[in-house]
Assembly symmetry: C2
């Protein structure tokens, strides 16, 4: 019955809105079960804030946790922040440990603390530990859904446990069981296959493969990417500093984190900073986040443009220069950003190290000279064609050519430098690059013009 | 012995260079076995072109294929292009089918055809088929390493095959065997676990799970991402239009493709177009690729700046405006690019559809008005403070505020429009946005100034 009324409706969020208003938890849950996670995410992002709160409160904590699972973490965190800490704690208790930590990490510290306090002390303690891991480390990426058995448990007991919890384990991603000591230290790994072929009465510890490959919980994402490129593993156990098993990182999890980082680099380079933005967020929130980056940028822009103010006399004499200044500024920015993108990518792939400034500089000078020459001739030709003055062409084309070399070399080197001083290259390279190249571009054009002023007018 | 001499050398590429010069294939191979794939990639990218050719020719085809496996596809393709088609074919024959296709797809069509002709006809036919799949489809992402058995084969025969080829199958990513008909059509799936618990004399077809979830070879990446988000599968079989099993897509493979796409969006938005760039590529190649994008950009820039030329008289009268034009142009570009990035991301996540222009426009107008007001007041204040003329502040601030609204709305909408006409939003949004917002920005500032000209001087 429900299904039919939904199918005739082209927009699931209209139906969702109506069901929330009607306040029938059972119908609501049936409806959400019938649409895909992608549709759930779209429908929820279209609800008003109040309706989103009602949705979470109407559903059972378990169903609410399922809805939040379908949403991007930041959006789920936004919704959790809007309900009471007790309600939030009940929902979060239904999530696996790593998802709990991912969502709480995106919530205001004060709100997160209130939710943790409303959770059971044991659960809260576990989540607090996961919260300490940086996002781009094994601890931040790992899943806490893994199978671990004590050394002395027999093969038969392990198999029985697997049989009994078959359903609960069905979305566990790796086909290994881990063998741990009484203190939780990782002792060995047991492929499911070995387990099935072994004698039921033997202790699991006696057939395990000892001393398996493992990673430390603070291992950086780069190390994990390399590990999975090097080996065909599906998953690798993660241990803390005392060797206790803390979770597993899966190949898919590492690939996902790597994709997430690439996407974040793009967002940051475009000026979307401080977490991700969804259009479902409140206007003030979105506006403020974008402004925090723009307001730094406007200061840098004013500083760069102040160079022009020093050459007002030259500019008054050759007003045509005013047409070329924005072109030189924009084109140099583009050339420099190409070099920035290549450097960030080569850093991510591990093809260059932050100290290899000289190599990158040398590689970029060539491109800068070649492209500067071509672009300079093009722009110079436009100037000559427009004003019929070859000296104007030389000034404008010469400034663009020179500044292209500066921009390309700087663009190649700045990300390495930022990485070296442990700043985020994706975030800061663009503003630094454009400020410096704008200043240099204005300076080259206007000082070249000043030098040959009598020839220009 | 080798190991020791390597460890004392801090740069593996220096050692690699020496070994290539010495021309000892065995030592070379031992050295490459001893360093990680990441180090191999770095070392190879530092070799001169000639040394890279020598490296591939010196090694056995099998070892050469292993080296290429460690490199990014584009770099491997570059190296393959430089050796003879016969040598290339011998190396490529050592790779799994999907890797063959990935590399040949990155090679000039003429060169790729020559290599395919040098391969065995059967192998070439298989690779040609894989080459037809678009990169972002199930066929382009799938792995051809999967286990498939005919329905009538017995469980015992399957288990024996697994035992015999244990080593060869060790890097197969999924823990399922697929059951196919005599014509190769997918009939069912057989989890390893079921296989181990079954009676050896039964036909595999009798214990398989029939009619398993599958995807068509032309299913787009978005569909695959949604599928793996919805279900906890490790891998899903891919079938062609007649239902024949063609490969498997794994969760990790899909996540990797999704990350690759995010990275490509970033590169394209930064003006690195037409395949990826590595600093190990020849200068002319790198310069030309970057120029192809820059030369379009300079034309757009000249068109935009030509607006300034129409207002030379106003500009002569109020030369201070020349300082603010590049600021207005750059700031509007930044604001617009933020909206572009959010739209591209929401499109990728499936949170908005290309036809939802009105919704995005409406959401962006609010942000544009708020941020335009703040930025306009800031820039206006700078103008008043500098020149002491409140009207200059109104002109400059008003122009930036108005243009911010235009840029933000346009930035939000352009990616949807491009997606709708099946163009790549990451590639074209930036240039379209900045051209239009530059023109509008110059027009607003200069026409506002012209309107109140007597008050400005």
């Amino acid at each position: 019955m429900m299904k039919q009324s939904i199918e005739t409706n082209s927009h699931p969020w209209v139906a969702l809105e109506e069901l929330i208003k009607a306040g029938n938890a059972k119908q609501l849950n049936e409806f959400l079960d019938g649409i895909s996670p992608a549709e759930t995410a779209r429908a929820v992002s279209r609800l008003a804030e109040e309706e989103r709160i009602n949705l979470l409160v109407l559903l059972s904590p378990e169903d609410a946790a399922e809805v939040l699972h379908d949403l991007p973490d930041e959006q789920a965190a936004d919704m959790i922040e809007d309900i009471s800490p007790e309600e939030a704690a009940a929902i979060i208790a239904q999530m696996p440990g790593d998802e709990q930590a991912d969502i709480l990490a995106d919530i205001d510290t004060v709100d997160a603390e209130a939710i943790l306090n409303a959770m059971s002390p044991r659960e809260a303690e576990k989540t607090r530990q996961l919260l300490q891991y940086a996002e781009d480390t094994a601890g931040g990426i790992m899943s806490t859904k893994y199978l671990a058995y004590p050394e002395m448990m027999t093969v038969g007991e392990v198999l029985d446990d697997l049989q009994i919890h078959n359903e609960a384990y069905s979305d566990y991603e790796v086909q290994y069981a881990y063998i741990i000591s009484a203190e939780g230290r990782l002792r060995g790994v047991l492929p499911m296959r070995d387990l099935l072929l072994a004698n039921r009465s033997k202790p699991a510890g006696s057939i395990m493969r000892s001393d398996p490959i493992r990673v430390r919980d603070d291992a950086p994402l780069e190390e994990l990417i390399q590990l999975f490129e090097e080996h065909a593993y599906l998953g690798v156990p993660v241990t803390d500093k005392s060797g206790r098993l803390a979770g597993i990182v899966t190949r898919a999890g590492v690939m996902e984190a790597s994709g997430h980082r690439a996407e974040n680099s793009y967002l940051k380079a475009s000026g979307i900073v401080g977490g991700e933005e969804f259009r479902s967020m409140p206007l003030a929130h979105r506006s403020f986040r974008r402004l925090s980056w723009l307001s730094i940028n406007i200061v840098l822009n004013v500083i760069a443009a102040s160079v022009i103010a020093f050459y007002q006399e030259t500019l008054s004499a050759v007003i045509a220069l005013a047409v070329f200044l924005p072109i030189i500024s924009d084109m140099s920015g583009c050339s420099g950003n190409q070099a920035v993108a290549v450097s960030i990518r080569e850093l991510t792939l591990g093809l260059i190290k932050p100290y290899e400034v000289a190599r990158v500089f040398f590689k970029e000078v060539g491109v800068g000279l070649a492209n500067g020459l071509v672009l300079g001739i093009l722009l110079g030709a436009v100037a000559v064609f427009w004003k019929g003055n070859p000296y104007l062409g030389l000034v404008v084309g010469g400034a663009l050519a020179t500044n292209t070399v500066v921009a390309v070399c700087l663009g190649g080197v700045v990300p390495l430098f930022l990485k070296w001083i442990r700043m985020d290259p994706a975030l800061a390279s663009g503003p630094i690059l454009t400020t410096v190249t704008d200043m240099c571009g204005f300076f080259f054009a206007l000082s070249f013009a000043t030098a040959v002023l009598p020839l220009l007018s």
